[in-house]
């Protein structure tokens, strides 16, 4: 055990006393993530391209007419669309048609009708949709009022959102809230009118039974929902993006560290120090375990430092201590461990299969770049098509970013991410150890 520790200490010391390596391991990801986060933060706040086409699943279980208002607002009418139900308020010319030009929600979202809530939730989980809006069966019933009971108290509309896409999720949540508020306002307006007429002794029934009198209150023009109404506070933008890009950049650069650190075995073989270790009275497996663990240690130390440094950057931007990764310390520690294991094991398997250190470094860089691009180290992957979204699941950068975004959002639902990375780490570590032990030249 002391010899394993000696090997780890040497490798960690060598790594952390190499200035150029330190620049690559720490300064570069810190700078890149901060720059990207600040740049994208400006875009999201309206200075650049608008947010649009957020993929949304709409489940209308409402047994009344009001749920259909969501459909009318979020899904554009198409000629010959036989499956689409008639508008909720078919009042002839009095109800203006919803068009892309005058309904900003049609641009903002790319909404699809889904038959049941479970399917919609599952598809949000799989990343196909950013959010699902689920209108409960008794939604319209809750909006109705009678002369005996003027209270309007509809059951809540469920917004099931992907926490990995915090901006899109918040937009959909705000949009839904706005539509429901608008309906409540309309219903309250009708109820007030009805009450006034009733108090004046008029035959209110004839008015109340004709909702088209109030049709303008339900037309798309009445729903002034736009990006400006989203409930994302402007000052939170850079912090959210720092979580996303910070985590992704940290894992991305950890892959380089893992690849380089693991390839040092092959460099040591070339320099003769590995052979020199082999002729000492040290079991071969101890040398290999020492090398494997030193790769793991280098990656772990890098990630720990980077995640602490990102807290520093966020706090500096905010002007106060801001624990951007949340405060669930055990799960943060768990994620750092499994993430380091996964990254280190990828470096080890590349080295185990490579013939030379140069070959290992080249292949390692290509894989790191793929995982970085696919995993969201350079742009937000939440806005990508479903097929590419599936490809991103091949990247541990994606898993890491997903887990830390979840923790940052205050949730502890990271078990799938942790399991995936733990599995990758365990399998690759075991396989690379077997390959190394069978290789006579290492």
């Amino acid at each position: 055990m002391r010899k394993i520790w000696t090997i780890i200490s040497l490798d960690v010391y060598t790594t952390f006393t190499d200035r150029s390596l330190l620049l690559l391991m720490f300064a570069t990801p810190l700078a890149l993530a901060t720059i990207i986060a600040v740049a994208f933060g400006d875009i999201a706040s309206g200075a650049g391209a608008p947010i649009r086409d957020i993929p949304v699943a709409l489940v209308n279980l409402d047994e009344g007419d009001n749920g259909q208002i969501f459909v009318d607002l979020l899904i554009p009418a198409q000629n010959g669309d036989a499956e689409r139900p008639a508008p909720a308020l078919d009042c002839g010319d009095e109800t203006p048609p919803a068009t892309t030009e005058d309904n900003i929600l049609l641009e903002l979202t790319d909404t699809v009708l889904v038959a049941d809530a479970e399917t919609a939730r599952r598809q949000v989980d799989s990343g196909r949709y950013s959010a699902a809006i689920i209108i409960p069966p008794d939604f319209s019933a809750g909006l109705e009022f009678t002369p005996q009971n003027m209270n309007v108290d509809p059951p809540p509309v469920e917004v099931y959102a992907d926490l990995n896409r915090p901006i899109s999720s918040d937009v959909i949540r705000s949009v839904t809230q706005s539509i429901v508020n608008q309906m409540l306002l309309g219903q309250i307006a009708i109820a007030s009118t009805y009450q006034t007429l009733f108090d004046q002794g008029m035959a209110a029934q004839s008015l109340a039974l004709d909702p088209c009198v109030f049709a303008p209150a339900f037309g798309p023009d009445a729903y002034t929902v736009g990006i400006a109404q989203q409930s994302i506070a402007e000052d939170e933008e850079p912090l959210n993006l720092l979580v996303i890009f910070g985590a992704a950049q940290a894992v991305f650069f950890a892959l380089f560290t893992a690849s380089g650190s693991a390839a040092s075995i092959l460099e040591e073989r070339r320099n003769g120090t590995l052979q020199r270790l082999t002729v000492t009275p040290t079991p071969r497996w101890q040398i290999l375990i020492g090398k494997l663990l030193s790769t793991f240690s280098n990656v772990l130390l890098q990630l720990v430092f980077l995640f602490i440094a990102f807290v520093g950057v966020a706090s500096a931007l905010e002007g106060e201590l801001l624990l951007i990764w949340g405060t669930n310390w055990p799960l943060i520690a768990l994620m750092l461990l499994v993430l380091s294991l996964a990254a280190a094991s990828i470096g080890m398997i590349i080295t185990a299969l490579a013939k030379t250190a140069e070959q290992a470094n080249i292949v390692g860089s290509v894989i790191a770049l793929f995982m970085g691009a696919a995993g969201g180290a350079f742009f937000q992957i939440g806005e990508l098509p479903p097929l590419f979204e599936a490809i991103t699941r091949l990247s541990i950068v994606r898993w890491g970013e997903s887990a830390f975004s979840t923790l940052a959002a205050g949730s502890s639902d990271i078990w799938l991410d942790a399991a995936a990375m733990g599995l990758i780490g365990a399998v690759f570590f075991a396989v690379s150890a077997v390959i190394f032990l069978r290789r006579e030249d290492v």
Partner: protein
């Protein structure tokens, strides 16, 4: 005397990329006695390093085994390795660490820790005469200093047996002398056994109590120098250098006709193809592959050498020069029977071939 290395039937076979097999070592048997300097002499590619790698436990033999102090290197490798100190041909150190840090690291890998480690490191630094530079990074050292640290690492755990694999390759005469002196000190002051590999006949001749001659993966002769040279009789070797002068085989016919001349051969050495080693003030070429250094100046690129074996070489020398019939001679050297002659006698080739 007590045997410290007993190798039997060591074979190493490698598989080439095309699937064919090549036997680098073909059943080597070795017996090395405790306290002796044993040289394994052979040309490059003869199998010296492969043999030493198997005996040190670096690579597994395809078949055969070696007992080191009674421990099998294949079945009890850790016990055997505790008795061995390996000094590789190349500098095998961590360049960004100091000399002391390198020694401490490898000392720990030999199972030394704490005060014992510190004491051994101090002792070795003193032995290699680098105490005052112990805290400097190795990559700031000269080639000779690196060599000394490289040797020191192999001595930390006070091994009974030290393997030195061509430790003088590519270094200047001053440092070579220092290393050869170190070999004697290891035997005489520290009672260590030294297994020394070299392709330089002079080194083997100067250092060794016994010599094993290896060629094409086989040990073809083994014994003291006296025992080995006895095998080639009383023939002297006459080596004549003609400089860049070119000759035909027919020019040598008159020499072959002389009484007492046993064999005559000539070759043209390309000097620019030989390894250049550093010297203090000028580039020199290991011209003969025998350790004798000749300066190469003014663009000489080839050298024609005639090698003649003859009984009573000095007596027939004048006849040989006459037989050359006016061909300009640059230098003449008469050598009494030596290991080079033994190798030539056994293989029909010079060591440098």
């Amino acid at each position: 005397m007590q045997t410290i290395v007993e190798a039997r039937g060591l074979v190493k076979t490698y598989r080439r990329n095309d699937g064919t097999e090549v036997q680098a070592v073909k059943g080597v048997d070795l017996d090395i006695q405790k306290g002796e300097i044993f040289s394994l002499l052979g040309p490059n590619g003869a199998g010296k390093t492969t043999t030493i790698s198997m005996i040190s436990g670096l690579i597994k033999p395809t078949s055969g085994d070696a007992l080191i102090g009674g421990y099998s290197i294949t079945k009890q490798p850790l016990e055997a390795k505790r008795l061995i100190g390996v000094i590789p041909q190349e500098i095998a150190l961590y360049p960004t660490l100091s000399a002391r840090a390198n020694l401490e690291f490898f000392g720990k890998m030999y199972g030394l820790f704490g005060k014992e480690l510190a004491a051994r490191v101090d002792e070795v630094l003193d032995f290699i005469d680098l105490t005052d530079r112990q805290k400097d990074r190795v990559d700031t050292f000269s080639g000779g200093m690196k060599r000394r640290v490289n040797i020191g690492v192999g001595l930390l755990h006070r091994p009974q047996l030290v393997y030195m694999d061509e430790p003088t390759v590519g270094i200047d005469p001053q440092n070579r002398r220092r290393i050869l002196d170190t070999v004697f000190r290891l035997r005489d002051e520290y009672d260590m056994t030294v297994l020394y590999t070299t392709h330089l006949m002079e080194e083997a001749q100067e250092l060794s109590d016994r010599v094993g001659i290896i060629d094409h993966g086989d040990v073809i002769a083994m014994g003291t120098q006296a025992e080995l040279t006895k095998q080639v009789g009383e023939e002297d070797r006459i080596i004549i250098s003609l400089g860049e002068e070119q000759i035909e085989e027919a020019n040598l016919e008159p020499i072959r006709q002389l009484t007492n001349v046993q064999s005559v051969r000539h070759e043209v050495i390309r000097l620019d193809a030989l390894p250049i080693v550093e010297n203090d003030d000028e580039a020199v070429v290991d011209k003969r592959g025998t350790g004798s250094m000749l300066a190469v100046r003014s663009g000489q690129t080839t050298e024609t050498i005639i090698t003649i074996t003859a009984l009573g070489g000095r007596k027939v020398l004048s006849q040989i020069i006459t037989a050359l019939n006016g061909i300009p001679i640059q230098s003449v050297e008469v050598r009494e029977p030596d290991l080079e002659a033994v190798f030539l006698n056994l293989t029909g080739r010079a060591l440098r071939d």
